[in-house]
Amino acid sequence: MAMHLFRDPQHTGCLRAQERLSEYVDNRLSARQAWEVERHLAACPACAQMARELRTTVALVRDLPRYDTGEDFMARLHARLDGVEPTGAQPRPMGLLAQRWRWLWPERLRMALRPASGLGIAAGVILTLWAMPHLLRENGNRSMSPVGTSAVTPEALHYSVALAASDPFEDPAAANLAAHAVLKSVQEESDAKKAH
């Protein structure tokens, strides 16, 4: 059976146009592609004839008579359905909010995001695996550093003592004042060290 339209396969312009004729007839080509096909059809009577025939063929197929079931179809079907039970568990009814949400998210967008969400999860796992040793190393350095311990502990002690001495319930600004006092004392200590 002849499976293609090509009357002159040597002619690359014809080949190119004919490959697109089916989609051209359906208006599925981009504006540029459609313009290219039309430009070729204007210059090539053989392809223009093919395009007309293809369009007519499609119209004839679409215009074929349609058939429907016999009159007793529904009665027969219901008689059969009476002896049948839907299988599987009944799905949980979807909440109104979930239904609205589903229609706000077009199916195509959700389908498009599905691989993206997979990639996101994969990236998250890789990042966690990569970052874990670094984080552990960071924590290890801090906990083992004698410098850090000596520098941080007195400040924290000063702060907690000053905070305990104040009463933030009576005066909300007390904690800030306490913190200011700690900073001042730390600054004084630092200045004293420099002087020595």
Binding site: D68, H78, M94
Partner: protein
């Protein structure tokens, strides 16, 4: 704003949700909505009215049985056509094992054409009477002679109005394959009908 297809899908989803909760009236509505398209598609695929009606019944029985496993966000249209297509494939396979292949592909067989004329409820649009009956028979014969895969793609696209994407889902094949099958099916039909198309279009 929802598109027309989106509205249909929304209405279908509401019916499916009710049918999943054992609402037979909702399932009845689904059948009424789709039985014509499913029957027309099956009949044009297997060309046997009584068997097409049985397969249409079977399509809805299977849909009813497994309605609870249907994902509401999917397309009911696509799902029903997929069930129908699988039934047609099984039917044609069985026929091929029992009937000589020549008689299946004999499109211009007079008895087949008579059977087609006797189909009940054929659409009798007055405008259709103007179309050359002989040409309609030629188109049907040419359609029947197409290889099964090409005919299925063409029927789903040009006769039942499914999109390329929906056909890819029904036939479970890539979009490119769908495009290619439609292109080749149309080209083959045009080749067969070319002698009768002069002066038309």
């Amino acid at each position: 704003m929802l598109s027309a297809a989106g509205n249909v899908m929304h209405a279908d989803s509401a019916l499916v949700l009710r049918a999943q909760a054992n609402d037979r009236a909702a399932f009845n509505e689904i059948v009424l909505r789709y039985k014509g398209r499913i029957f027309n598609y099956i009949y044009r695929t297997i060309r046997h009215a009584a068997d097409a009606e049985d397969l249409t019944q079977e399509t809805f029985v299977r849909a009813y049985q497994s309605i609870r496993s249907f994902q509401v966000r999917a397309s009911l249209n696509t799902w029903l056509f997929r069930i129908a297509t699988n039934l047609c494939i099984d039917y044609v396979r069985k026929q091929k094992t029992h009937v000589p292949a020549e008689s299946l592909s004999c499109a211009a067989d007079e008895s087949e054409q008579d059977a087609q004329r006797d189909i009940p409820d054929a659409a009798l649009d007055p405008q259709r009477l103007l179309i050359d009956k002989e040409l309609t028979h030629r188109v049907e014969a040419a359609l029947e002679q197409l290889p099964e895969k090409l005919r299925t793609a063409l029927l789903l696209y040009d006769v039942e109005g499914l999109s390329y994407e929906e056909i890819a889902a029904v036939l479970e094949c890539p979009l490119g394959t769908v495009k290619s099958r439609i292109f080749h099916a149309r080209a083959a039909l045009r080749d067969r009908l070319a002698p009768y198309l002069n002066g038309m279009g």
